[in-house]
């Protein structure tokens, strides 16, 4: 037990003030000077030694207070750093979310761009074709011409029909006349033949 605590004590003392300069030495000197002062005789020397001891003591107290303040400061620094660390973590998480949002927005924007480009491509093709109104007008004009021409065609055909019919009538009357003339000739031939046969007959 004692050995362990001795080791601990030695380690602590080495850690605090290993090289022997500074506070540890001051405390040793104080103890030595206290012992000397107790053993000293004369009044003035004792008084000056007393003053010196008081000053060393105050120096020791001063350095102790300084170390305490530094310790306090370190604690507060740690708290401060903890706070900053938490804030930074929050902002990292926020940035991650923003990145995800932005990625979604990029996808959306790409879709929009694709739609616009498709629209542009179709629009280019459509532009190459002539305007719909013009084509409609041309169609109307062509339709009217077509109607007009068909009217003319009808009237010409009617005229043709009429003339054909008249010719037909004319030709048929000519044929009839021819027929009657032929019939008449035949009749007169037959009559002549009958007359000659009648002339030859009454003899016997």
């Amino acid at each position: 037990m004692a050995a362990v605590t001795d080791d601990e004590v030695i380690r602590k003392r080495l850690l605090i003030d290993g090289n022997g300069a500074g506070d540890d030495r001051r405390i040793n000197l104080l103890v030595k000077s206290f012992i000397k002062w107790c053993n000293s005789g004369s009044q003035e020397e004792g008084y000056s030694q007393y003053q010196r001891m008081l000053s060393t003591l105050s120096q020791c107290e001063f350095s102790m207070r300084k170390t305490l303040l530094v310790y306090d400061m370190n604690l507060r620094e740690m708290e401060n750093y903890e706070k900053i660390y938490k804030e930074i973590e929050c902002s990292i998480a926020g940035a991650h979310e923003k990145i995800a949002e932005c990625k979604k927005q990029i996808l959306q924007a790409k879709r929009i761009r694709k739609n616009r480009q498709e629209y542009d491509a179709l629009a280019k093709v459509i532009q190459r074709h002539p305007d719909r109104h013009e084509t409609l007008k041309e169609l109307e004009a062509l339709g009217k011409e077509l109607e007009h021409l068909s009217h003319i065609k009808e009237s010409v055909e009617d005229k043709l029909e009429l003339r054909r019919k008249q010719f037909h009538v004319l030709l048929s009357t000519i044929h009839e006349l021819q027929q009657t003339l032929e019939n008449g000739e035949k009749l007169s031939e037959v009559e002549e033949a009958q007359e000659t046969s009648m002339e030859t007959d009454p003899k016997p």
Partner: protein
């Protein structure tokens, strides 16, 4: 042996990539029929070493090249030489993983087996669409494994598929230069866009093949032989032509950009107005596929990966630069 492996790596082409449903793994399929699984979370973590950029496991999946891969929430489906095989993501990291099932769509002739160039998942119907060398689109129901429809129309083999979500329609683009829209409910072709017939985007010296398709409901981007163009589907008009000379092999919409990659080292980022926003060089001389890991379960692995005519898969953590490359 080492020489053989080095030669193999030199001539490797990575055709397809796919991300696992948990977002942490990337599967890549190459022209030798192998699939390699890379761990994205390990490669992206702060203690990544050289070994994390190597695959965790590589296995021989097909006899021919693996042209296309898709993932459902539990399976990885890979297709290449005429067959579709399914692998369980939970088992895929173990050695000696066997496929869960394999299916072959009904082909007209059994003599030649046409390759499957593109796979597409239709989540609403829980079905898979396959398209490739036989010029047809086959639909397979994932629950029962039966092939429900075969859509005819293309006159030459089909390169790529895309799904238009709102009206469940599938777009397919092929070697015949036409992009056809199919309605899945009526199993008929609703719209045909013959890209090479439009003067603004056709480039006859490159051919008329459509190498890549991507759709965003009303809009579609397609490229390949003709120039990379943005189309408005309802009116079937080409609206913007992207001034890229090299034919593009993969294109996708991402946020407000269009990402494309093809012949040439770079991943190109375009705005819908036709301006080139950025060109980020990768490590392969030509790129064949791009994959964006947007799985919600792993937001830290949100990367763009690009792979093509080499054994490396470039990883872009930020669209502005190439972070590192994974390698077979």
């Amino acid at each position: 042996m080492e020489v053989f492996q080095a030669l193999q790596r030199l001539h490797m082409i990575i055709f397809s990539q796919n991300v696992s449903p948990c977002g942490k793994f990337l599967a890549a399929g190459n022209n030798y029929g192998q699939i390699a699984i890379f761990s994205l979370s390990a490669a992206l973590s702060s203690e990544a070493k050289e070994e994390s950029k190597k695959p965790m496991v590589t296995f021989q999946a097909h006899d021919g090249p693996v042209y296309s891969m898709v993932s459902t929430d539990r399976h990885l489906l890979s297709a290449g030489d005429g067959e579709v095989k399914a692998w369980l993501w939970a088992e895929i990291l173990k050695k000696g993983c066997k496929e869960l099932w394999r299916r072959q769509p009904p082909y007209r002739t059994s003599l030649e087996v046409p390759e499957i160039n593109a796979l597409l998942l239709v989540p609403k119907e829980n079905s898979l669409i396959l398209a490739g060398g036989d010029c047809q689109l086959h639909t397979m129901d994932l629950e029962t494994g039966t092939f429900t429809r075969a859509l005819w129309g293309h006159t030459d083999y089909i390169h790529c598929l895309a799904l238009r979500e709102r009206s469940p329609e599938v777009l397919s683009g092929g070697e015949d230069g036409a992009v056809r829209l199919w309605d899945l409910r009526t199993a008929k072709e609703v719209q045909t866009i013959e890209v090479y017939k439009h003067e603004e985007c056709s480039r006859p010296h490159n051919g008329r093949w459509i190498g890549c398709l991507a759709t965003d409901s009303d809009w579609m981007v397609c490229g390949g032989g003709p120039a990379l163009t943005l189309w408005h589907l309802r009116s079937s008009t080409p609206t913007t032509i992207f001034p890229m000379r090299a034919p593009q092999k993969h294109v996708t919409f991402y946020q407000d950009l269009i990402l494309s990659a093809g012949q040439g080292r770079c991943v190109n980022q375009w705005q819908l107005s036709g301006e080139l926003k950025a060109q980020v060089p990768g490590s392969s001389p030509g790129l064949l596929s791009l994959s964006l890991n947007q799985q919600p379960a792993a937001p830290e692995c949100k990367v763009l990966t690009a792979a093509g005519n080499s054994c490396r898969v470039d990883v872009f953590t930020n669209l502005g630069y190439r972070a590192f490359s994974l390698s077979f």
